[in-house]
């Protein structure tokens, strides 16, 4: 790939479970994989009862890495045992949450780990077919995964009668074509069925009525990549890597104003301050921290005084934000938060599928208002109106994209109100001159 850089950072503080094979020669090959514990977990799982597999995953405390953080084993247990329609496993590899780039190395450097995780999920819910929905921009990954799938097939790990167990499982890739909303699980299902990517009303949840109307488990790439390790080393081992109810490790993508950007695998619950200082090496130019987005653009922003938090789902939720997708975006003191909010709103306005009015109209109002505001055309009531519009989106939409726009908006409007007032007073952006890019 022309100009493709290794996104992985490297820190002695990392605890490598799902990224441990990344540096091995030819790490994406079946040969390297089987020489390094590959497909051992599948063998073990196939000798167990499906329900026992689900229980191990449940007890490990593994929570979905796609954003919502739901207990994975629990989700699997909602799939009905008997179903007149075929059951499916769908891997969500649509990775499009701004600030997030961790599924990409997982598929690039260790595709077999993901494939093994999906087959085990299939066995656990007794499904015979799975799909990996990859965002269209990741074309080179499709080639890598397709090659790995062919290898797995010829090695007897995939297809009919896997490893002589009598269990059949077919798996293939599917390409998207550019739409953030297709990462939302029910929109993804519609997209996979060849329709426009509009979400479906829940309930019924996909575990009961999903792909082609059959019970369906949808999990993120990172979630599924953890599964083989949990089966092989046990629920307790996995749980103790992290903090209570937040099992394991997590890939954090450090980006923005940080000296050592990169994707780092750290224990769940790793302190944010240490992540920024010791892992990321602080802020370029010795500048001060202004704000951090802890888990992708959909999360409420944290101020510099809120970074003494452990990075697990419950701790971050306790201070009013979310662990989200693992995208940690750092802003230094010269960042204009009005401009940042404008860019975030531009994104949601562009990606809103337009199905429901609060999201369709609200995101585009916020986009235009904040862009005008930043450009010097602020009106006295704008900040209050923007807050009002945000609250009229929150909780009033069909899918969570509306909330994903409203939450960062509300946090910025409230925590950085002073910057809005200053724009209004000056008639232009107070940061325009100071902000110099690090690039």
């Amino acid at each position: 790939m022309a100009g493709y850089n290794n996104p992985m950072g490297n820190s002695p503080l990392e605890v490598k479970v799902i990224s441990k094979r990344f540096g091995l020669p030819d790490s994406m090959s079946l040969k390297t994989y089987v020489q390094n514990e590959g497909y051992e977990a599948l063998k073990k799982a196939l000798s167990m009862k499906p329900d026992d597999v689900i229980n191990i995953v449940k007890n490990s405390g593994l929570r979905g890495r796609g954003g919502a953080g739901f207990n994975t084993g629990m989700k699997w247990s909602f799939v009905p045992k008997q179903s007149p329609k075929p059951k499916y496993v769908v891997c969500n590899a649509d990775e499009s949450e701004p600030g997030t780039c961790k599924d990409r190395p997982l598929m690039e450097y260790d595709p077999h780990q993901l494939i093994e995780g999906i087959i085990i999920a299939g066995y656990a819910i007794q499904s015979n077919q799975g799909f990996i929905y990859v965002r269209g921009e990741y074309r080179y990954l499709l080639d890598i995964i397709d090659r790995a799938l062919a290898e797995a097939q010829s090695g007897g790990y995939l297809g009919k009668n896997i490893l002589g167990s009598g269990f059949d499982f077919a798996l293939c890739t599917h390409t998207g074509a550019g739409a953030y909303e297709c990462g939302e699980e029910t929109a993804l299902l519609n997209s996979l069925e060849g329709l426009r990517g509009y979400p479906r009303i829940k309930p019924p949840f996909p575990a009961v009525v999903g792909l082609y109307g059959g019970p369906t488990v949808i999990n993120n790439v990172e979630t599924l990549s953890n599964v083989p390790h949990i089966i092989l080393k046990g629920a307790e081992w996995y749980a103790q890597l992290g903090s209570p109810k937040n099992g394991g490790t997590r890939l954090f993508c450090l980006s923005g104003h940080i000296n050592r950007p990169g994707v780092y695998e750290l224990p769940m619950g790793f302190p944010l301050r240490r992540m920024l200082e010791e892992i990321g090496g602080g802020i370029p130019g010795g500048k001060k921290l202004k704000a951090v987005i802890p888990g992708g653009s959909s999360c409420p922003v944290l101020t510099a005084s809120e970074i003494d938090v452990n990075m697990d789902y419950d701790s971050v939720a306790k201070i009013g934000s979310m662990l989200g997708s693992g995208g940690v975006v750092v802003m230094d003191e010269d960042t204009c938060m009005v401009n940042l909010m404008g860019r975030i709103m531009h994104f949601y306005a562009h990606e809103s599928c337009g199905w429901c009015i609060p999201c369709r109209e609200g995101t585009s109002w916020l986009n235009h208002m904040i862009e005008r505001f930043h450009g010097g055309g602020a009106l006295p009531d704008d900040a209050d109106t923007a807050l009002d519009v945000s609250y009229n989106i929150l909780g009033k939409t069909l899918c969570p994209l509306g909330d994903a726009a409203a939450m960062p908006a509300i946090s910025i409007l409230k925590k950085f109100r002073g910057e809005f007032d200053e724009h209004l007073k000056l008639g232009h952006c107070p940061f325009e001159k100071k902000a110099v890019s690090v690039a």
């Binding site: 100009g3 996104p7 701004p98 074509a177 550019g178 060849g194």
Partner: protein, 156 residues
């Protein structure tokens, strides 16, 4: 005329799914890669392959930002200006591309060689600022890197 190789790819893609129409987006995208856009011919063929009416294919096309009804330049520069990239100077990079290529957002050079687009997060945030040219990633961009990429492509 769609190539033999593309027809083979179509056969293989359609056979993956329990429901043929699931293949619509993959078929369109692979066809676009070959033809340069989703042409009338492509739409008709995809509709025929998955047993739907052409209008149903057209309805799907409008939803996806990577599918185009009109041809783009041979090399499509897609510069990410989303947050991680913005914080690392993506707006300047996008402006530089505009000046250097002499075109604006969603425009194509008269010789049909280059197109330019401002896009959302590409999943390359730790290598910001980033862009894709067609499917190739370029990260940690600087004006000098953009120059080198353009010079390189001009030689092809």
């Amino acid at each position: 005329m769609l190539s033999e190789a593309l027809h083979k790819k179509f056969d293989q893609l359609v056979s993956r799914y329990p429901l043929k129409r699931s293949a619509i987006v993959p078929l369109l995208l692979y066809a676009q890669d070959e033809v340069g856009c989703v042409s009338e011919e492509v739409i008709a063929e995809v509709a025929r392959r998955v047993d739907v009416r052409p209008i149903e294919v057209i309805e799907v096309i409008g939803y996806y930002s990577m599918l185009h009804r009109q041809p783009l330049g041979k090399y499509n520069f897609q510069v990410c200006t989303n947050i991680s990239c913005m914080l690392r100077g993506a707006d300047d990079i996008f402006d530089y591309c505009k000046t250097k290529l002499g075109i604006k957002h969603k425009q194509t050079t008269p010789d049909g060689r280059f197109s330019l687009e401002e896009v959302e997060c590409l999943g390359a945030c730790t290598g910001a600022p980033a862009m894709q040219v067609n499917y190739d990633f370029y990260e940690n961009l600087t004006p000098a890197k953009i120059d080198a990429v353009i010079d390189d492509l001009k030689k092809k």
